[in-house]
Symmetry: C2
Subunit: 497 residues, 2 copies
C-alpha cells in the first residue's frame, strides 16, 4: 500500500487515539461507579470487565500499525499535531517494550495483592501480606528490566507516574525535605497547641457548604457531580463530565478540605484545551503536577486566612454550637495544626512529606533487594521514629495503612510530595503575577487564579512534560526551597518559633 | 495449525464470549449512567464512547476466527456447552451478513434521527422529523435485504428483538387482539367510571414504599440499586449488580407500578443460571419474554386484590389524607381503570395492546413502501380513531410521542404486546401449578411464584428460544386467547358488563 498523505495519516492517528481515549473513558466510568455506585456483590464481575477493557486498550495501543503511523508523523517537522504525536509515540514505544504476559501477571498480582492486604489487615499481621508484596516487587523488577538504559531500575517505576523524573533527583529533593522538616516539626512539638475544633458538624450541612465552596471554585451543576466515596478521588470521565468525591464525617471538617483537594484535580482536567479531547494528550501531564493542583487549592488557598475571611461567617452560621466561640483567627489556627500522626492521610501540611520520604526509601530498598518484604515493619518503625518522632505499634497504623503496594503501585508515592513542592513553586510565581490575589480570595473571586492556572498549567495537558510545565510557569526546575520557605514562614508565625 | 482439542476449543470460545459479555457490561453501565447519573454536558462525549465500545464488540463478534471455532464446536454432538454454542453461532452468522458500513450508517442515522425527533417535538411538527424517519426506514430495508431468504422483509427486523417470530404470525395474533379488544373497550366506555385516586402522594414516601415492595419481590440491598430516571428501565450490569429505575410523581402512584414492572425485568436477569455468566447466552431470551415478566409483576400480581390486601394498610398509612376514605376494593378499582389515552405509556392493561397494533401496522406499511413517512400523522389519526375511538390533534400526543423510530428501532414495538400475551399464558400455567398462589400473595410471600419463574422461564437464559421457553412453561405456542379471556373476565367483573 502507498503511504497515506500527511493529512490523512494525521486523521488516521486521531481516529486511533479517539478510540484509545474512548476506552479510557469507559474504564474511568467503570472505576468511578465501582467506588461510588456499584452494589458490593458486583465487585468480582466488575474486576473482569475492567481487565477486559484494559486488555483491549493495551492491544490497540501496541498495534504495530499505530507505531508505523507515529513514525511517519514524527518524521514530518511541519506536523501541526506535534505535541499529540509526541505523547502518543512515547506511550506506544514504552508499551511495546513490556511483554503482554508481564502486563497480565502484573494485573493478577495486583488483584491477589489487594486480597492479601485485606486479609493482613483483618489479621493485623503484616506477615500475611509480605509474600504478595514480594511478588509485586519481583514483577516491578521485571518491568524495570525492560528498560535497561535507565540509570536506576526505580526510574522505570517513577516514569509511569512522573515522566522523566529520576531516582537520583528524588533522593536529592527528598534529602532536602528531610533536612528542612525534621527540625521544624521537632521545634513545633515543643510549643503549645491551639484549641481544637469540637464538633459534631452535621454531615448534611457539611455537604451543602462543600457544594457551595466547590461552586465558587468552578463546579457547575450541568457538567460536574459531587458524590461520596470511602476513599475520595476525582476524575473527568470526558469533556463536560467531571466527577469529584468526598467523605463527610460529623467529628471533623476534613470533608470540606477533601472537596477543595479533589476540586483541584477536577479543575485541572476541566481546563485542558478542548482541542486535545479524544486524544491521549488531553489529560494531566503527571501525577505530581496533578497533585500540585489539589494541594494548591486545599492548602495554599483553602487553609489561608483570606479564603476563610470570605466563607467563615457562613460556616459559623451552619455550625453555631461548634463555632460560635471560635473567631476567624482561632479557626485559621485550628485548621493549621501540626501534629505528627502515624496515618498519612491524616497528616498535616508540614509532616505529610516525611510520610512520603519514608515510603520512597523503603520502595527503593525493596526494589534493590536490600530490604526484604518481611522486614518492612521493622524498617517502618525505625523510619517513623527518626522522621516524625512517633512510635508505631499497630501494623494498621504502619505499613498496612495504604493500598498502593498491594495494588503494585510502586513509584506512585513520590508524586504526592512532588505535588506539594510544585504547588509552592507555582504559588511563588502566582504571588508575583497576581499581587491582588489575597484581595480576590477575600471576596471569593477565584477567576484570576483559575485563569492563571489554566494558561500556565492546565491547557497544554500532556503536550508539555511535567518539567516543561514547571519551567514555563515558574522559570525553575523542581526545587523544594519554596515549600520549605512557605512551611517555615507559616508555622513560624502560627507557633511563634 | 492443528485444530485444537474439543475441550480447548470450548475454553477458547468461553474466553471470547467472556470478552464480548464484558464489553456488553461496559456498554450497559455507560447507558445506565447516561440516563441516571451523567451531567447533561457529558452527552456528546458519551455518545462517542458508547459507539466505540459497540464498534469494538461488533469487530470481535464478526471475527472469522470466532466463526471457525463455532463451526468446530457445533459439529461436536457431545459438546456440553451446546446451548451457549448455538446462541453464539446464531449471533455470529447473523452479524457477518450485515456489512460493517451499514452498521455504521445505522448508528449515525439513529443519532441524527434522535436529534431530528427532538427538534420536531420542539416545533410540534412531524414534518421536521419525517426525512429522518424515511432514512431510518430505508436503512432497515437495506438490513432486511441482507436476509433475502425471509418471507417478509419485516421478519428481519422482528428477529433482532424476538428471534423466529414472523410478520405473518404477528398479523394473525394482532388481528385477534384487535377483534377481541375494540368491542370490550367500547363497552367499558359506556359504563360509569369508579372514583379516581386524588393525591398529592409525597414523593419521598412513595420511594420508601417502592423500595419495600421491591424488597418483597427480591431486591437485595447488596446486589441491586433503585434510582430515578426520566424514562424508567432496568438492566443487569453483571451478576450481583442489578439496577432498576423509576420516576415518582406526586400526582399519582404510577411510580409504584413502574417499580413492580422494572423489578420483573430485573428478576429475569437476576435468576438466569450463573453458569451462563460471561457468555452471550446469560441474559433474557427476547424482549417479548422479558416484557412478559415485567407485565406479570406489574399487572397480574401488582394490580390484583390479593397483592394489595397485604400492602394496602401500609400504603394507606403512608398517605392518610389521600387514602383514608378509600377502602381496598375502591383502591383496586381505581388502579384498574380503563380509559383510552393517546399516550402509550399512560395506557391501561386493556387499551395498551391497541397502541402497539397501530404502530406495527404503520411500521410494516413504511417498510413495504405503501406508507410514506410524511403521511404517518394522517394514518395515525385514523388508526387511533378506529382502534380507541379518540381524536389525536397534537403531534406530541401522536407519532412524536415515542423515541423508538427516531433511534431506528423498527420491529421493537410488537414485543410489548407479545409480552402482555405471554404474561397471561404463563399466568394460566402458574394458576394450574400453584393453586395456593392467591394465599401466598395475600401474605406477601412471592417465593413460590419467583421459584416457578426461575425454573420455567429465567434459568435457561438464551439457551432456549422464546418459543421453546413458552412451550416448556405452558405447553402452548404464542396465543392471545388467555390475555383476551383475562381482560374480559377482569373488566367484565369490574365494570359489570
Amino acid at each position: 500500500m502507498p503511504s497515506p498523505e500527511p493529512s490523512s495519516a494525521a486523521a488516521a492517528l486521531r481516529e486511533r487515539l479517539a478510540e484509545l481515549d474512548d476506552l479510557g473513558a469507559a474504564g474511568r466510568l467503570l472505576a468511578w461507579d465501582q467506588q461510588v455506585m456499584m452494589p458490593p456483590r458486583g465487585a468480582a464481575a466488575r474486576g473482569e470487565v475492567m481487565a477486559t477493557v484494559e486488555r483491549l486498550a493495551h492491544a490497540r495501543a501496541t498495534d504495530p500499525a499505530l507505531g508505523a503511523l507515529l513514525d511517519e508523523l514524527a518524521a514530518d517537522a511541519a506536523q501541526p499535531d506535534a505535541g499529540v504525536v509526541r505523547v502518543a509515540r512515547r506511550d506506544h514505544l514504552r508499551a511495546v517494550r513490556i511483554p503482554e504476559a508481564l502486563v497480565g501477571e502484573i494485573a493478577l498480582a495486583a488483584a491477589a495483592g489487594q486480597e492479601a492486604w485485606l486479609a493482613a489487615r483483618e489479621a493485623r499481621d503484616f506477615a500475611v501480606f509480605a509474600p504478595a508484596l514480594e511478588r509485586n516487587v519481583a514483577l516491578r523488577r521485571e518491568l524495570a528490566a525492560c528498560f535497561p538504559e535507565l540509570a536506576h531500575p526505580y526510574d522505570a517505576l517513577l516514569d509511569v507516574y512522573e515522566p522523566d523524573l529520576t531516582t537520583a533527583r528524588v533522593r536529592e529533593v527528598f534529602g532536602a525535605l528531610r533536612e528542612g522538616l525534621v527540625g521544624l516539626i521537632a521545634a513545633i512539638a515543643e510549643r503549645p497547641q491551639p484549641p481544637e475544633l469540637r464538633g459534631p458538624f452535621d454531615v448534611g450541612a457539611q455537604r451543602e457548604i462543600a457544594l457551595l465552596l466547590a461552586r465558587g471554585l468552578g463546579f457547575e451543576d450541568d457538567g460536574w457531580r459531587l458524590d461520596e466515596a470511602v476513599h475520595p478521588f476525582a476524575l473527568a470521565i470526558a469533556p463536560g463530565d467531571a466527577r469529584v468525591t468526598a467523605r463527610f464525617d460529623a467529628a471533623s471538617l476534613s470533608g470540606l478540605f477533601a472537596v477543595l483537594h479533589e476540586m483541584g484535580h477536577g479543575l485541572y482536567e476541566h481546563q485542558v484545551d478542548p482541542a486535545l479531547a479524544r486524544t491521549t494528550a488531553g489529560t494531566g501531564t503527571s501525577l505530581g503536577i496533578h497533585e500540585s493542583q489539589s494541594r494548591l487549592w486545599e492548602n495554599l488557598v483553602g487553609r489561608s486566612e483570606p479564603f476563610w475571611s470570605h466563607h467563615y461567617p457562613r460556616l459559623q452560621a451552619a455550625f453555631p454550637a461548634a463555632l460560635r466561640d471560635v473567631d476567624l483567627a482561632g479557626f485559621h489556627r485550628a485548621i493549621n495544626v501540626v501534629r505528627p500522626s502515624p496515618i498519612r492521610v491524616h497528616a498535616d501540611e508540614a509532616t505529610y512529606s516525611l510520610h512520603i520520604v519514608l515510603r520512597f526509601e523503603l520502595e527503593v530498598a525493596l526494589l534493590e533487594g536490600t530490604l526484604a518484604a518481611a522486614d518492612v515493619p521493622a524498617a517502618w518503625t525505625d523510619g517513623m521514629r527518626e522522621l516524625l518522632g512517633i512510635e508505631v505499634t499497630d501494623p494498621l497504623d504502619g505499613p498496612l495503612q495504604d493500598i498502593h503496594w498491594a495494588a503494585g503501585e510502586l513509584g506512585y508515592f513520590p508524586t504526592y510530595a512532588i505535588g506539594g513542592i510544585v504547588a509552592s513553586q507555582l504559588w511563588e510565581a502566582i504571588r508575583g503575577d497576581l499581587p491582588e490575589l489575597d484581595a480576590a480570595l477575600a471576596r471569593g473571586d477565584y477567576e484570576p487564579l483559575r485563569a492563571w492556572l489554566a494558561e500556565r498549567v492546565h491547557r497544554p495537558g500532556r503536550t508539555l512534560t511535567p518539567a516543561e510545565v514547571l519551567r514555563g510557569a515558574t522559570g525553575q526546575d523542581l526545587d523544594p526551597g519554596p515549600l520549605l520557605a512557605h512551611l517555615h514562614a507559616k508555622y513560624g508565625a502560627l507557633y511563634g518559633l
